[in-house]
Symmetry: C2
């Protein structure tokens, strides 16, 4: 195998594929890029077994020669070192040549690197078939959905199912739900489906893909045990999380006697200031509502107290107060992506709802905390 | 004590003074800002005992009112919380008021914070006298000296004296020397002195001061056990490090049969690439010199090898090779602040010298390492 390749084009693909490669692995082959030089393109694969990214570079892109002087073949080259080398060389093109099957020589006019490499047969067999139910999203829609939902998933592996985003396909819409059991985010995306199905996609895979796509449409192919994302020259394969996603509909109250409408950014800033004095990891604030005032406060025996009045609000309901984790409410308000938000309370110890004033497709549910003062 | 103050002016002073305050301290009072509202200025002090920063804000600066509506007095307020509050408030002015001696109320139109505070009598007595030998530097000269010398000091507390920069004053010049025992940086600064003296100033204090000064001249006042830096409205007090600084002159060879002149930036880039393959913490490269070539290489059994030829060089001497820590040579070349550098070798196992082609005031000495291939 031998090829001379445009350095920046190669660097872009290596950066994409490297996202799937971890620093350590029980399978040494997974620390490598797999390079396959074929008749008309170079395929590069990286994997950590749960997530695999494959991306390809054509020999020629319209009138631009990307790869020249090549012979077909494949090899495994250390991801860390190949990425560093391609990043730090400063020439326009570089040459990769495999010698005696176990040495990869990477060179330009000034520099010569020889890396110990592995035979491509040592790479584990991966199921890279593409099958299952297909759904297509414009790039911006996909990014927006992930932005609005992903943060509410759990980051702890204690209950693996909560590290997934649950996708349910109905005839007329998709529903995305994430919850860490203290809060929930639900997004409804309208489109017409042939099939009804459900899948639990690891939130990390969704976040990775939403960062990798640039402006292409994206296809999701969802089968029983994996999801395959296709966009541009890149294919991302992710396992699904098995098990039943919790029934979240019962977390959502159906009657809200206390309804507050506020400016998103000034409400977030006020909570941010008031929660400065909290000592705990969770930044708890108390919200007090009445016809003519909205106040946020916090108190800590050790440090002191803070209180701020919120202006520009509309409130309907009796006098009411509730305490909550400020970060959860901030996250929920940001996810609404709306100038004004409506916060609807069912009672002091009931979950409450944060929603956008101008977008019914997104709903956030948050559990309050007990107030100590 | 009570005062209403311009928020951004206060924030700037708090940021400066907070540099001396640590997150934890055996003396709880040191976790606070000391605020002294006097007749015509507000003095703010922060300290960790070894380093103290005092900065002041005038009541009025030319035509601008900085502080209004004030009564004199002093208090201690938690540095962490006061800084956060002043940073996050969004009004132009704020009011600080001490109530019952142990509560500080910080407020603007919307927000009210009450912080538990301490009486100013609980602040430890600090020696804030200013005495000793005086030396003055223009701001840029001081920053340049610290940039060129500080990096060579030790960061390890094993030999505290090596965490100092040694300053020696002669009638016609100051000499600054720092060494971690593997490398040495020496800067000569010409000026005329009344006195000859020597002091070991903690490198951290010098770096902190060089970051704090903006464009003012700076005065150093060096006495037996402390140095006081004066600039603008700020005074920084630092202990000196006791003990004798090592005699460094014997580290510097006096005869160099092998002399290489190279372009600083391209030589640094080449070393940076070649050292990519080093596994160890120390990035060791080998330099090979002859009349018609200069090559840098590295080798690792596990990973592979790298080799790069350097162009645009001048070399006088026999064929010669030496190995060294790439980071040390990069640091030394950068500290020369010169387009070309001259690297002078005394022998394969002798310390070598890096110097600027156009500036005799700066000299860097580096110890080589044994080469294994």
């Amino acid at each position: 195998m031998k090829l001379t390749i445009n350095r920046l084009a190669l660097l872009k693909v290596l950066n994409t594929v490297s996202v799937a490669i971890e620093q350590k692995s029980p399978t040494p082959a997974f620390l490598n890029f797999k390079l396959d030089m074929k008749e008309d393109n170079l395929e590069i694969t990286g994997s950590n077994n749960d997530l695999t990214i494959k991306s390809s570079l054509p020999v020629q892109n319209e009138d631009n020669i990307i790869i020249s002087d090549y012979t077909c073949g494949s090899t495994l080259i250390s991801a860390k070192y190949l990425l560093d080398i391609v990043r730090k060389l400063d020439s326009d093109t570089l040459t990769i040549e495999v010698i005696d099957e176990v040495i990869a020589r990477i060179s330009d006019e000034k520099s010569k690197f020889q890396l110990n490499s592995m035979r491509s047969e040592e790479y584990p067999d991966l199921d890279l078939s593409i099958s299952g139910k297909k759904v297509m999203f414009p790039c911006d829609d996909f990014k927006r959905i992930i932005n609005q939902v992903a943060f509410a998933a759990s980051t702890k592996e204690v209950r693996p199912i909560l590290t997934a985003v649950n996708i349910k396909a109905f005839k007329d819409r998709l529903e995305f739900v994430a919850t860490d059991s203290y809060r929930l985010s639900k997004k409804i995306y309208e489109l017409s489906n042939k099939d009804e199905f459900e899948a639990n996609i690891p939130v990390n895979s969704l976040v990775i893909v939403s960062k990798l796509i640039e402006d292409e449409d994206i296809n999701l192919n969802i089968s029983n045990n994996k999801v395959v994302f296709e966009f541009g020259n890149t294919t991302v394969y992710s396992r699904l999380i098995s098990g039943d996603f919790p029934k979240t509909s019962r977390m959502i109250p159906d009657h809200y006697p206390f309804v507050l409408r506020v400016k998103s950014s000034s409400f977030i800033d006020a909570m941010d200031r008031v929660s400065l004095l909290s000592t705990e990891k969770e930044r708890i604030v108390k919200l007090e509502l009445d016809a003519d005032y909205v106040e946020i406060s916090s108190k800590s025996e050790q440090i002191g107290s803070a209180r701020e009045s919120v202006d520009m609000f509309e409130y309907s309901g009796d006098r009411f107060s509730i305490s909550f984790n400020e970060d959860y409410v901030s996250d929920a308000i940001k996810a609404c992506m709306s100038e004004d938000v409506i916060i609807s309370f069912a009672g002091e110890m009931n979950a409450f709802k944060v929603s956008a004033s101008d977008d019914e497709s997104i709903v956030q549910i948050i559990t309050p905390v007990r107030s100590y003062y």
